[in-house]
């Protein structure tokens, strides 16, 4: 009787057949790349969303259309473009980024920025204009009014960051292309992430191992979600 993959993966969790440090190194590469990419993306996206939300200028519709289109960028295409950019002949070739974590961060930044910007922008424009007017009328500067709007939009912005993180950490195509899914001779991950490891294990027929890694990935995403939602509640003293 063939062993059910679920049972098999439970056995693996107990036995942990991985080389010591292997899973930990994959998790840390995944988190390192995704967290840094999403942090950079957030730092870039929120000011852009504030500027777009607070100002009207010719071509604003076009900018928003480009951002919305960016949400649908196929990740393998982004990976390919970043691969060309960081390859020896590419514009960033001199930085020697090919098959490094930095290249993976770059491609995840490109993938995470459109959803974070678009969802933040929707949250910011969704804040009642009266609230912005009130901040100004009570003696606030433009910066004060922007801070009030950001605070009112904090749940939407938290959702935006989560969406960006979700896209980054669950992404396979581009990190495989620009990162190369590499481990060192000691079996410790250099550019192997949870997703690329799962893809590799599954292709080799190691379904149990793949499922354990999948469970770890799922648990990580849930944990980060919980932290961000909790974070969104800070500053509200009910």
């Amino acid at each position: 009787m063939p062993i059910d993959p679920a049972v098999q993966s439970l056995q693996l969790l107990v036995d942990l057949p991985f080389r010591e440090g292997y899973v930990r190194s994959i998790v840390s590469v995944s988190l390192y790349v995704s967290l840094i990419a999403v942090a950079l993306s957030t730092l870039f996206s929120i000011p852009v969303a504030v500027v777009l939300g607070f100002n009207d200028f010719p071509g604003k519709g076009l900018v928003k259309a480009v951002i919305n289109t960016g949400m649908g960028f196929p990740s393998v295409v982004v990976g390919l473009v970043v691969l060309f950019a960081v390859s020896n002949q590419g514009p960033l070739g001199s930085l020697n980024l090919l098959f490094t974590k930095q290249a993976m961060i770059l491609s995840q930044f490109v993938l995470a920025t459109p959803p974070i910007t678009a969802i933040s922008l929707a949250a910011i424009t969704g804040v009642d204009e009266d609230v912005r007017d009130a901040a100004r009328a009570l003696g606030g500067t433009r910066l004060d009014a922007a801070l009030v709007v950001l605070k009112e939009a904090r749940y939407g912005i938290a959702t935006a960051v989560l969406a960006g993180f979700g896209r980054a950490i669950s992404e396979v195509g581009s990190v495989l292309i620009v990162g190369g899914n590499i481990t060192g001779a000691d079996g410790i991950s250099k550019t192997r992430t949870l997703t690329t490891a799962i893809q590799l294990e599954a292709r080799q027929g190691q379904y149990g191992t793949a499922m354990v890694l999948g469970g770890v990935l799922l648990a990580l995403v849930l944990l980060i979600n919980a932290i961000v939602v909790r974070f969104g509640d800070w500053g509200v003293q009910r």
Binding site: A134, G140, R238
Partner: protein
């Protein structure tokens, strides 16, 4: 004190008002009455220095507010309190809303220090905040989140928020149009309290009975301009402009 002289304002082709003049002195309540949609809100925003008039001047104690540079105009704006038709409260506890005006007047290092301190040890409510909430009878609600307030209470918090930083002028845009009689009475008492504190109050309203109750002077806004300004009693009993007379008669019958 705060004076608009011969101001005009249009949105595109639509003229809201032309050649309009109005002023308010300390300790005086001026009611701007007129039908809905006539431009009372635009006039109040012009007085609040948040909207630049197309023509004419707005001056505060003799200083033309649109001739000075931005920091000076901000300083003038900060002597004005404003209450909107909708309460427009921030998603935070009552006291946090009321202290907003005080908070933005502090320097950034002070503000950051105060925020950090309040994270470690929640400090007591500032006297100015309690005093402002006292005017509208809501001091006991200062720790509540604004979500738990009724519409009337929310508007009273909005009033407290505008007087907490002790402005010289208070601009009220239809402050009671969505309220029940009890909350309306609280706001009207608070207007009287503001006058006693030597604040100049301009209240836009379409309720002529309210204007009669609270105002020392009335400005009647009709057809893109003020048709008549004068002491409340005189304007209601003996309007000099035939348009004012028609408006008042029509409303009073209704």
């Amino acid at each position: 004190m705060l004076r608009a002289t011969a101001v005009s304002r249009s949105y595109g082709e639509t003229v809201v008002f032309e050649n309009l003049s109005i002023d308010v002195e300390p300790g005086e309540v001026v009611a701007v009455i007129g039908p809905s949609g006539i431009g009372k809100t635009t006039l109040l925003r012009t007085l609040a220095l948040s909207l630049e008039p197309d023509e004419g001047t707005v001056s505060f104690d003799g200083t033309d507010a649109w001739e000075v540079d931005d920091p000076d105009r901000l300083a003038l704006r900060r002597r004005i309190g404003m209450v909107f038709q909708a309460a427009s409260l921030f998603d935070a506890p009552v006291a946090r809303n009321v202290e907003y005006g005080l908070r933005v007047r502090r320097s950034w290092p002070e503000r950051i220090r105060a925020e950090l301190r309040s994270l470690v040890a929640p400090s007591g409510t500032a006297d100015a905040v309690r005093d402002a909430l006292d005017i509208v009878g809501l001091d006991d609600k200062r720790a509540q989140h604004v979500e738990s307030l009724s519409a009337g209470e929310a508007q009273r918090v909005s009033f407290a928020r505008a007087v907490a930083y002790d402005p010289d002028v208070l601009l009220l845009d239809e402050p009671t149009s969505d309220l029940d009689p009890r909350n309306t009475a609280v706001i009207e008492d608070a207007i009287a309290e503001a006058r006693d504190r030597r604040i100049g109050v301009v209240v836009a309203t379409h309720d002529m009975y309210q204007a009669e109750r609270v105002a020392d002077r009335v400005a009647v806004l009709l057809d893109g301009g003020v048709t008549e300004v004068g002491p409340t009693e005189r304007v209601f009993d003996d309007p000099r402009d035939p348009r004012t007379r028609r408006f008042i008669d029509g409303e009073l019958v209704y």
